[in-house]
């Protein structure tokens, strides 16, 4: 165990716990809204309270323009962020892993990257979020379906788009391991391909799978954020006309960032607080990944001569 791994685990576990149990502890609920009101204190000093309210004792994270507590919004939206990122990462690793293991074991020697069809290289130039955006934009503005249903569609699209890269990473690693002597000896005593993959190759790749899983979570969180910048939010976007405004239906974190993008110059907390929460969440997973990698490195790597 090392410090980075423990710190990362603590951060992510605390945030996940806050997401699922926070609503019982939070001071305000999603339904309570601050309305415009005028109060007079003991000295006769009057104050006019108009949302958005800046962070104070009653509203630790402040409120948004409609007067809803930002903490309540973050707690409500966090379930979507956390479940979607974990589920999509798991699906990508599971399906991509199986495909990669099979391709790596049965596949031919891989061609060097320069010799591959240049067509695939061109596809690399089109970023992944643009592909997902093109699919989702037609169905996620002012949708009729429920947020959960739309979230599932988005999750499926993100899974499909991410499988090839996972599969090719796993395939490359499998190809290195299948040349090892213990694989040849297993084959010579008559073990079938599936047995070899399950009992000889997979156990050697457990660390790679775990690290890849954590890194995929980080990538997916980034992808959600990029989509949100272009107004495709998890669970759908409500678009108001006159003035044109995009609002997340689920209060998912990246949606909160995306819809608050214009609060850069005034009422900054509406943008900064979801942004910080999101960065801390990514930071937690990043620490886990760094910690796991250092354990792995200590076990296997050679020593530098310089």
């Amino acid at each position: 165990m090392n410090r980075a791994l423990i710190a990362g685990l603590i951060i992510t576990l605390v945030m996940i716990a806050a997401s699922f149990f926070g609503q019982y502890l939070a001071p305000n609920h999603l339904e309570d809204q601050v309305s415009v009101h005028y109060t007079v204190d003991a000295n006769g000093q009057g104050t006019l309270v108009v949302p958005p309210v800046s962070p104070n004792a009653e509203y630790p994270f402040g409120t948004d323009k409609a007067g809803t507590d930002l903490m309540a919004k973050l707690i409500a939206g966090s379930k979507y962020t956390i479940i979607v990122s974990l589920a999509v990462a798991f699906a990508r690793i599971f399906i991509g892993g199986i495909v990669g293991l099979l391709l790596g074991y049965f596949g031919k020697e891989k061609k060097s990257r320069a010799k591959r069809l240049p067509l695939w290289n061109v596809l690399n130039g089109i970023p992944m979020f643009i592909i997902v955006w093109m699919v989702m934009i037609g169905i996620s503005i002012n949708p009729v379906v429920s947020p959960v249903y739309l979230t599932i569609i988005l999750a499926v699209v993100m899974t499909i788009v991410g499988i090839p890269s996972v599969a090719s990473t796993i395939k490359d690693k499998t190809m290195v391991i299948r040349e090892k002597q213990f694989i040849i000896s297993a084959r010579s005593i008559g073990a079938g391909p599936l047995t070899i993959i399950r009992t000889h190759i997979f156990p050697h790749m457990k660390e790679s799978f775990i690290i890849l899983f954590v890194q995929e979570i980080i990538l997916i969180l980034g992808l959600l954020g990029q989509l949100a910048i272009f107004n495709v939010f998890v669970g759908g976007t409500t678009m108001y006309f006159d003035p044109i405004e995009y609002v997340s239906r689920t209060n998912e974190w990246t949606g909160l960032i995306g819809q608050a993008r214009s609060y850069l110059l005034i009422y900054q907390w509406i943008l900064v607080i979801p942004l910080v929460t999101y960065i801390v969440f990514i930071f937690g997973f990043h620490l886990i990944s760094v910690g796991l990698e250092s354990i792995y490195k200590e076990k296997y790597s050679k020593v530098s001569h310089i």
Binding site: R113, V135, G138, G225, Q226, L271, I282
Partner: protein, 295 residues
């Protein structure tokens, strides 16, 4: 497959992919009543047909910006100028800084700086843009000194410093980590140990023995580097409001009337053309590095 066959397949292949890709928003449609998902393939193929017909009449090269009909050829020139300015500078500077700092990071023991670099590498590009903008706003609020524009509000005062900074930082960060990783790996090889035992200087070993063996990895990862550079382009043109190629497509893709298929196709083709040019430029640069290092 012969080389000739591959090359002859390349252009139609790219065209086909762009055609199919651009029709995605009209193919995936939700039913307005019950929200069921429909795949309207016919819609998509009609769009392709219209585009091909429109090439001869010129209709495929006109689009609506708001309610004005504009010519694609007249508008794209400025976009290409803006986009290529940032992409060429980002690619060249990002790669040079990336390689040099990557070498430095492979030998240095400044751990905290490496940690910081790894963390910024894990953060998505738009976060870095927003954080840069927030820093400018924060400094301006505290001291009243606006270091740089946080975005282009009009064409007379374009934001230059921040876009340039983000177009260099993000790909350079990837390059630094990549070079440092391969460099460290190369340092474990036996020929480095041998060179050291012959009494060669450290700098000589690094630049003459190790770096030439790292350059092939950089060449192989060039498309990934380009992917990061160009993926970032979409984000920062949008966030800084720079009137480049991708912003032209994004702001007008859903015009007043409907989805403008021909504009998206033209825009993506322009984008791929720029991609090819910058790619060739970088290959040339790596060739130059190789010639200098192995002279």
């Amino acid at each position: 497959m012969s080389k000739l066959f591959q090359v002859s397949l390349f252009v139609p292949g790219v065209l086909l992919i762009v055609f199919l890709f651009s029709m995605l928003p009209v193919v995936f449609q939700a039913d307005p009543v019950n929200g069921a998902l429909h795949f309207q393939w016919m819609n998509g193929f009609t769009k392709i047909g219209e585009y091909i017909d429109g090439i001869w009449t010129g209709q495929s090269f006109r689009y609506y910006a708001g309610s004005n009909e504009l010519s694609f050829w007249e508008q794209i020139g400025n976009g290409i100028k803006v986009t290529s300015f940032y992409m060429v500078l980002g690619a060249v500077m990002g790669m040079t800084i990336g390689i040099l700092l990557g070498v430095y990071f492979a030998v240095t023991r400044a751990e905290w700086f490496k940690r910081l670099l790894e963390l910024t590498g894990a953060l998505p590009d738009f976060i870095i843009v927003i954080v840069l903008q927030s820093i400018i706003v924060l400094v301006a609020m505290k001291t009243g000194w606006v270091i740089a524009n946080v975005g282009s509000f009009n064409d007379n005062e374009p934001a230059i410093l921040l876009p340039l900074l983000s177009t260099i930082i993000i790909p350079a960060n990837y390059m630094i980590r990549n070079v440092a990783l391969h460099m460290k790996h190369t340092f474990t090889e036996d020929y480095i140990n041998f060179a050291k035992s012959r009494g060669l200087r450290k700098g000589y070993i690094i630049f003459r023995h190790a770096l030439p063996n790292v350059l092939p990895f950089i060449k192989a990862d060039l498309h990934k580097f380009m992917g990061i550079l160009f993926g970032n382009l979409f984000i920062f043109e949008y966030l800084y409001n720079l009137h480049g190629v991708t912003l032209l497509v994004f702001t007008n893709a859903f015009g007043l009337k409907s989805y403008q298929y021909s504009l998206v196709v033209n825009g993506i083709l322009t984008f791929l053309l720029l991609y090819a040019i910058v790619y060739l430029l970088l290959r040339l640069m790596i060739l130059g590095w190789e010639k200098v290092l192995t002279r």
